[in-house]
């Protein structure tokens, strides 16, 4: 554990000396938090007019609306689109850090002294993964906390607040988000260890956002319904993918290739 802690400490000490990284980490969550609040605020004023109208809500989603008015049902349906923004945060934020972490050390020639220490590949990758994922997950949770605190201030009804603080959202933010973060970080580390240019690493790593975009569009098209069942399926699938990626990452991290064939 000492080696993993040291790598995390080193990564954070380096990363947080860069103001642009701090800006990236804080700016996007702020926008992603404000945006749904603005939307809710605007919708709140129109809820009275929409009462009883759930024509645009997919039928399969109506089960999630029991005890809610038509307007509130419409609100939580639309808020589910924004839930995906909260799920994107722990994916997008750590990509910058993780994508740079190996290739960055290659370019500054600090990787060889690091690999010359007794640190194991698993410890090195675990340290780098956690160093990228933890700030992203904490920031996402903090943003969601702020979002929850702000809901009563903009006049959101108790029913809608209960839904957002309910199992679907909590599973998404507390479990699915971190699991997706691990996928993103491991993918970015894999890319980072294979390419020779930090810019290429960042560009290629962003590919990992595509599945979330697919979910977003599928939900908008009414092809999938985001509810507790969906979240449980996502958790099982992501947990399996995470385990696979961690093992794959450690097995394909070839110290020799990285040291001798990166120029």
């Amino acid at each position: 554990m000492r080696h993993i802690r040291t790598i995390i400490d080193k990564e954070w000490a380096e990363v947080f000396k860069n103001r642009m990284v701090i800006f990236t980490i804080s700016f996007m969550p702020l926008i992603f938090t404000i945006l749904p609040l603005v939307m809710l605020s605007v919708m709140g004023e129109a809820v009275g007019d929409m009462n009883g109208s759930t024509a645009d809500v997919p039928e399969a989603f109506l089960a999630s609306c029991s005890g809610l008015s038509g307007g509130e049902c419409m609100q939580i349906y639309l808020m589910n689109q924004f839930m995906l923004l909260f799920m994107m945060m722990p994916v997008i934020i750590p990509i910058t850090i993780a994508a740079y972490s190996i290739v960055g050390e290659k370019t500054t020639r600090s990787l060889e002294p690091l690999l010359a220490t007794p640190i194991t590949t698993v410890e090195l990758l675990a340290g780098k993964s956690l160093a990228a994922a933890i700030p992203a997950i904490v920031t996402t949770w903090a943003a969601f906390g702020l979002f929850l605190l702000a809901l009563p201030l903009i006049g959101v009804s108790a029913g809608v607040r209960a839904y957002i603080a309910g199992p679907t959202w909590l599973l998404a933010i507390l479990v699915v988000g971190p699991l997706m973060s691990i996928v993103a970080v491991n993918f970015a580390l894999y890319v980072s260890s294979r390419v020779n240019d930090p810019r290429v690493a960042e560009q290629v790593s962003t590919v990992v956002i595509i599945p979330i975009m697919a979910v977003l569009f599928a939900q908008l098209a009414g092809l999938i319904i985001i509810n507790v069942t969906f979240m449980i399926i996502a958790i099982v699938v992501l947990a399996a993918v995470d385990v696979g990626m961690v093992f794959l990452g450690a097995s394909i991290f070839e110290r020799e290739t990285i040291l001798t064939r990166w120029k």
């Binding site: 040291t6 380096e14 000396k17 220490t117 194991t120 001798t260």
Partner: protein, 315 residues
Amino acid sequence: MIITQDLGKVFKIGKKEKTEIKAVEGLSLAVREGEVFGFLGPNGAGKTTTVRMLAGLIEPTSGSATINNLVLGKENSAIRRSIGILTETPGMYERLSAEKNLAIFANLYDVTDVPGQVRKYLQMLGLWERRADPVGSFSKGMRQKLAIARALLHDPKVLFLDEPTSGLDPEAAKMVREFIESLRALGRTIFMCTHNLDEADRLCDRIAIFKQKVIAVDTPAALRQQLFGRKIVVHLAVLQPEWADMLRGLPFVQAVEALENKLVISLANPEQDNPEIVRQLVEAGAAIRFIGELRHSLEQVYLEMLHQNGQGRQA
């Protein structure tokens, strides 16, 4: 301390890894405990590859080696723990302070007293006053010193130094050399890659001349003798031609050359034979001004060795 037996490394490159490059071939060495061992060779000779293999960073494709009695390939993690390595480029974390850089590596080497060891080596290398400054603000010499400190933090028995004074100004290079001397005094085994022949001559107990394979291994003095023998130069006020013939008649004299007012005499053992030569010349009426040993530079030895082995650079 470091023993290699037919160690080799072949890199496979190109599409489908069809092209093979022999970086190191049949390397057999025995570096003794407490020795400063110079590993000399031109650029691309395979020196860095050898160090990387011995440090357990890359796998040899043939042969075997033990470092500190640990078997390479089977106990690589323990090997890395027992050695220190100064890589060709310092590779420090430039945004972080000198102290932080060393603390990171002290933790990775599982050093017990991290602050104590960091302080000890920063003070020893004259960097204590700059400990809080980011390494990015350091001169090249300071970075190299810091990289040496990093290699020593865990008090390794064996130290690999890859071009330790490369790119340093004379003052910084001298400081690094003095530090290596002090490490030798502490009994550390040092394996030093360099193509600075003057440095190798001054620092190394033994050297290996290497280009993909070992061309020669011995002390610098023994290699000189092996190639050029030992010669003394006798500076005279006036040279009489018959004195050269007189000396050629002595049984221990191998060869005599007369050059202006000098006699260059090849001897197997100058310490033993010089008094007789002086006596003969004085009795013949020669006025001797000065006697010294003709010393070939290590550069001459190195170039001659490479040339003899067909490894010299094409003109």
